[in-house]
Structure formats: structure tokens, C-alpha cells
């Protein structure tokens, strides 16, 4: 039971009823999420993320392969007992109050009435909705619903949190609040599995990520490793137009601002070649630095391969990034 989540060849095939045409939404995903870690699942729309999560929770049945939650087969209801889940596009019954909703889902998780009664005000206080405890959910804003949804996921003190777009619709203050809650949970040893489109959020929060595309794992690893040392940035002034044109064909991306030409190269060899050419033309070299990628860049490279020759890229897009893994 070393893994919070373990999947082996997890596959989901949808078949059209009449034509029998197959669509592999999830195609043999084998993934391991360590206990107590923070894991981000990334992928473009339609990549199979939600189907994967649904199979983990047994809302959808795998066509092949298996999933284990803390060593238990995910199809066993007991495997879901340590899971707290916040679904994307949730539709909480609007006739419920926050108190009623937490009580209901807590009871479904097998919590005793006394424990539920004690836990509800604590949790609502934690997500900043203590004053809204007896207000019907129909009167809540989207951000408030998201926060009460998080409280619902935390109701039975889960060991594994599966969160689908947890900060969707939440204002920056609320987003920070959610992140603080999640960080506190991480410190307590709760495993957090995050499915989010907010790559910055994932980069800030998750230790490991997997990027899936067309139902398969396209890239997997720690955020630190994936974003480390991705290339070299060369900055130079007074670069003749002929040389600029030549360098643009070799660089991964270029930009120009206030007379400074910025060139991004994928390898040290290319960067050195550029330096040689610039020196030969007596250009003034401002800097050469090793750059880290943002997770967004890693993501874009993984799911959508860059063109061979990049057009001019805004300078802001080329800023050096800190490794925040």
C-alpha cells in the first residue's frame, strides 16, 4: 500500500450504439501517485482526464485495466471511503443549505450524527462560509459553491483528495485561501490529486504531474525535473538585419525590445553557435542565461509540438522563470 493511487493499463473505450465505432477516451494509463504527495493531472480538453478520474471513483467502469486506491480495488465501495472528491461542474441540490449538504454527504460517508454536527461549523469556518451555514445553496455565488464543495470533500477527513478544477470561479483571495487549505492538508500527509487547467496553480502546488493527451500519458514526472534547464537565452544589441534573419531561423523563439534582440535556443551548441556569429559581426552581447520552462511551456510542448521556426514572440513570453517545484 505504498501508493495512494495506482492504475495499470486503465482503458475506457466508448462505442457508438449503432455504428459500433470505437473511441478510446483513456488508453492504457498506468500511473502511480505516492502517498502524501500532491499530484497534478494535466491535459487539453477531451484528453481523457475526467474519464480517468471517473474510473478512479467508479462513476465509470473501465473497459480494461484496473485502478487501486490505497491498495483496494476502486470498484469496492470501501476503497472510496478515504476519498474526498470535488467534481467539476458540480450541481449541488439548491434546496439544501450548506449545513444540510455537508450533513448529507458526511452521512453517506458513514459519519455519526454527533461527529457531523461538530465538524460542519469547523469546516464552514475554514472555508469562510460560517455566516452562510443556514442559507440555501441556490443563493450562493459560484465561488462560494466551490468553497462549500471543498468543505464537502473534506467533511470526513479524507486521506486522498481528488479535486477537479477546485478554484474554478473563485476570486484571487478565495483561490489563495483554497491553496492555503490544501497546503495545510499536504503538511498533514493528505494525498492531493489535482485536475486543473490552471497550470500556474498546478506548478505552484503540485510536486508531480502527468500530462495526458488522446487518452495516453504523454509526459510524467516531478515539476522540478520537467521545468528544469530547458534552454538558453541570448541577448544582444546592434545585430545587423542579415544576421538577425539567420539567427531567427536557428532560434526556438525570438523577440526584440528597445533594440535588444532576445533569442531562445534549445541546446548549448545552438547558443554557442549564435554567440560565435554575433562576435564575428562585432555585436554587443548583453547576456547569455540558462532558462527554466514554465509548466505551461512544458505543457504546450507536450500537447502541441512547436513549429520548426518560431515567429517573433513577445518579450514577456520569454521571461526567465524561477524553478518553483
Amino acid at each position: 500500500m505504498n501508493y495512494a493511487i495506482e492504475t495499470e493499463g486503465l482503458t475506457k473505450i466508448f462505442r457508438k450504439r449503432w455504428s459500433g465505432k470505437e473511441f478510446r477516451a483513456v488508453d492504457g494509463i498506468s500511473l502511480r501517485v505516492d502517498r502524501g504527495t500532491t499530484f497534478g493531472l494535466l491535459g487539453p480538453n477531451g484528453a481523457g482526464k475526467t474519464t480517468f478520474v471517473k474510473m478512479l471513483l467508479s462513476a465509470s467502469h473501465p473497459s480494461a485495466g484496473r485502478a487501486r486506491i490505497f491498495g483496494k480495488n476502486s470498484r469496492d465501495p470501501e476503497a472510496r471511503r478515504p476519498i474526498g472528491y470535488l467534481t467539476e461542474n458540480h450541481r449541488f441540490p439548491t434546496y439544501m443549505t450548506a449545513q444540510g449538504m455537508l450533513d448529507f454527504y458526511g452521512a453517506l460517508s458513514g459519519m455519526e450524527a454527533g461527529l457531523r454536527k461538530k465538524r460542519i461549523p469547523e469546516l464552514l469556518e475554514r472555508v469562510g462560509l460560517a455566516d452562510w451555514m443556514t442559507v440555501r445553496l441556490g443563493k450562493y455565488s459560484k465561488g462560494m459553491l466551490q468553497r462549500v464543495g471543498l468543505a464537502q470533500a473534506l467533511m470526513h477527513s479524507p486521506d486522498l483528495l481528488v479535486l477537479d478544477e477546485p478554484s474554478d470561479g473563485v476570486d484571487p483571495v478565495g483561490r489563495r485561501q483554497i491553496r492555503d487549505i490544501l497546503q495545510a492538508l499536504e503538511e498533514q500527509g493528505v494525498t492531493i490529486f489535482l485536475n486543473s487547467h490552471l497550470l500556474v496553480e498546478v506548478e505552484l502546488f503540485c510536486r508531480d504531474v502527468a500530462i495526458i493527451q488522446r487518452g495516453k500519458v504523454a509526459l510524467e514526472g516531478s515539476v522540478r525535473d520537467l521545468t528544469a534547464g530547458s534552454g538558453y537565452k541570448v541577448e544582444a544589441e546592434n545585430v545587423p538585419e542579415m544576421l538577425q534573419a539567420e539567427l531567427r531561423t536557428r532560434a526556438r523563439a525570438t523577440s526584440q525590445e528597445n533594440g535588444v534582440l532576445r533569442l531562445m535556443f534549445g541546446s548549448r551548441e545552438d547558443a554557442n553557435m549564435a554567440l560565435d556569429l554575433l562576435r564575428a559581426q562585432h555585436c554587443e552581447i548583453e547576456a547569455m542565461t540558462r532558462t527554466n520552462s514554465t509548466l505551461e511551456e512544458v505543457f504546450m510542448r507536450t500537447v502541441d509540438p512547436p513549429p520548426l521556426t518560431a515567429a517573433a514572440v513577445p518579450a514577456s513570453a520569454m521571461k526567465e522563470t524561477a524553478n518553483v517545484g
Binding site: 471517473k54 462513476a59 470501501e78 472510496r80 449541488f92 448529507f104 458513514g110
Partner: protein, 280 residues
């Protein structure tokens, strides 16, 4: 899952169904209609009891003579009321509560329910039982109140009339399995209502099986008719049995009851099986 946790989850599912029925005014709608009927019966009957015998009684404008068998009259009136509640109440109950089951399949709601450590059949049965109790509470409230009103005013305590509540609930429980199955398969309250109403409306036609059989020339068409009669719930026959029960008449055959129960068990099992197999 331990028995205690099982019970906690079941109670939560039932409570949730009640909460939704309250919020959608379904419960209060039933309760209001039942109360209105009870008030109607309180004020429609004028009765004077002299030395334990009914001197004058007016029910639905008909005056009973002092020498008339009051017991028989009350039983007949009970029979009429029970048949009315059985028929009109059933249409109302199916129409009003059909939405309570498909709502749990709404995207964004069902995933959350399924993520809990509860078996799928448990979720659906919890909702089904909750729905039965919402209707059952009002049926028993109405029947017991009418039983008391008649008992107090006439001194005739026809306990068979109370049986009509059980019979009505039995038939509702069977018809609700159809709502449940259709809800699981197509997630539409409207389609569930249509199919259930169709079964109720076809029932009196199929009940005339022996007459219709004489009109059919081909043996296969007679077989189809018989097959439909025995396979589908016998809502009409159930009503006849109910009336006989209430007035104390003879019951010719219990076949309509057990075959309807069998239908309910098969459809409920099909609904639970389909729900267990479905992807959300």
C-alpha cells in the same frame, strides 16, 4: 460496510428525498390535497347518533333511513372512496413524484453520490424508499383520517378500509419501479410518467381479456394479449380487489396481486442492474 454505517447512509438518502419533496412542494401539495379531502369528509357528513343507532345520515346527499344497514352503507362508501383514492391518487402520486428519481442522475450530482462509499443499488433503493415514504405518509394520513371520521360519526369501524392504504401503496410501489427503470435508462421524468400512465391506462383494456379474446381470430394475437395481461401490472384488477376488500366482498383470485408483485420485482431488479452497469 458496517450495519450502522449502512443505516446512517440509508437514513440520509431517505431524508434527502423528503427534503427535495418539501423543496419542490410535492409533499405539501399532497398534504394540502389530503387535508382538503379530510375537511370535505368532516363537513359533508351530518349524522345524529341516538342510542347507538344512526337516526339520519347524509352521505353525498343521500339520506340513509334509520332501518337501513349502516354498516353496509359505510362499507360501500368506503369502497367508493378507496377506489377513488386508488385511481386518482395513483395518477397524482406518479405525476408528482416521478421527478424525484431522475434528478439524482444529473451530471455534477451523480458523480458526487457515486464517489461516496455506498453501493449503487443502495443509493437508488434509498431514493426509491424515500419516494415511497413521501407518498405513503400522505396516503396513510388521508386513509386513517377518513377511517376515524367515519368511525366517530357512524360507530362503524371498518378496518378493511385501512387495508386500502396498503393496497394503494403496493400498487404505487410497483408503478414506481417503472419510473425508476425509465429514469435510469433515459433520465427523463416525462418519459417515465408517460410509460407509467400508459401501463395504468392499458390495464382496464387488458382486464377485458376474455371478451377481447373472442374478437380476435388469430391464435398468436390471443397469445400476445394473454402475455401482455399476465406480464404487465394489473392496476385495474388491483382496484377491483381493493374495492372487494373494503366492502368485505369475496376475492375471486389473488393472481393479479402476486403477478403484479412479480412484475415489480423484475422491473426493480432491472433498474438496479442497469444503474450498476451505467457509466456516468
Amino acid at each position: 460496510m458496517s450495519a450502522n454505517k449502512y443505516l446512517i447512509a440509508t437514513m440520509a438518502l431517505i431524508r434527502d428525498t423528503f427534503r427535495e419533496a418539501f423543496a419542490r412542494k410535492i409533499f405539501w401539495g399532497f398534504f394540502g390535497c389530503s387535508t382538503a379531502l379530510i375537511l370535505f369528509f368532516i363537513f359533508i357528513m351530518r349524522i345524529d347518533v341516538v342510542q347507538g343507532a344512526v337516526a339520519t345520515m347524509t352521505i353525498f346527499g343521500k339520506e340513509a333511513h334509520p332501518n337501513q344497514n349502516v354498516n353496509l352503507l359505510v362499507r360501500q362508501v368506503h369502497g367508493g372512496i378507496a377506489a377513488f383514492l386508488y385511481t386518482a391518487g395513483m395518477f397524482l402520486a406518479v405525476f408528482a413524484s416521478a421527478g424525484l428519481i431522475p434528478t439524482i442522475f444529473e451530471p455534477g450530482r451523480i458523480e458526487l453520490l457515486l464517489s461516496k462509499p455506498v453501493k449503487r443499488y443502495h443509493i437508488l433503493l434509498g431514493r426509491y424508499i424515500g419516494n415511497l415514504l413521501v407518498v405513503g405518509f400522505n396516503v396513510f394520513y388521508l386513509v386513517l383520517a377518513i377511517y376515524l371520521i367515519f368511525g366517530i360519526k357512524t360507530g362503524v369501524w371498518n378496518t378493511n378500509f385501512v387495508m386500502s392504504a396498503f393496497m394503494t401503496m403496493f400498487m404505487f410501489a410497483v408503478l414506481l419501479t417503472v419510473v425508476l427503470l425509465i429514469g435510469v435508462l433515459v433520465e427523463s421524468a416525462a418519459v417515465a410518467i408517460m410509460v407509467t400512465f400508459a401501463l395504468m391506462l392499458i390495464s382496464p383494456i387488458l382486464a377485458q381479456k376474455s371478451t377481447i379474446e373472442r374478437l380476435l381470430s388469430a391464435e398468436w394475437s390471443r397469445d400476445i394479449l394473454r402475455g401482455l395481461y399476465y406480464a404487465l401490472p394489473k392496476f385495474f384488477d388491483g382496484g377491483r380487489i381493493l374495492r372487494e376488500l373494503v366492502i368485505g366482498g369475496p376475492i375471486e383470485s389473488w393472481m393479479p396481486i402476486w403477478s403484479t408483485a412479480l412484475f415489480g420485482i423484475v422491473i426493480l431488479s432491472a433498474g438496479l442492474y442497469s444503474f450498476a452497469r451505467r457509466d456516468f
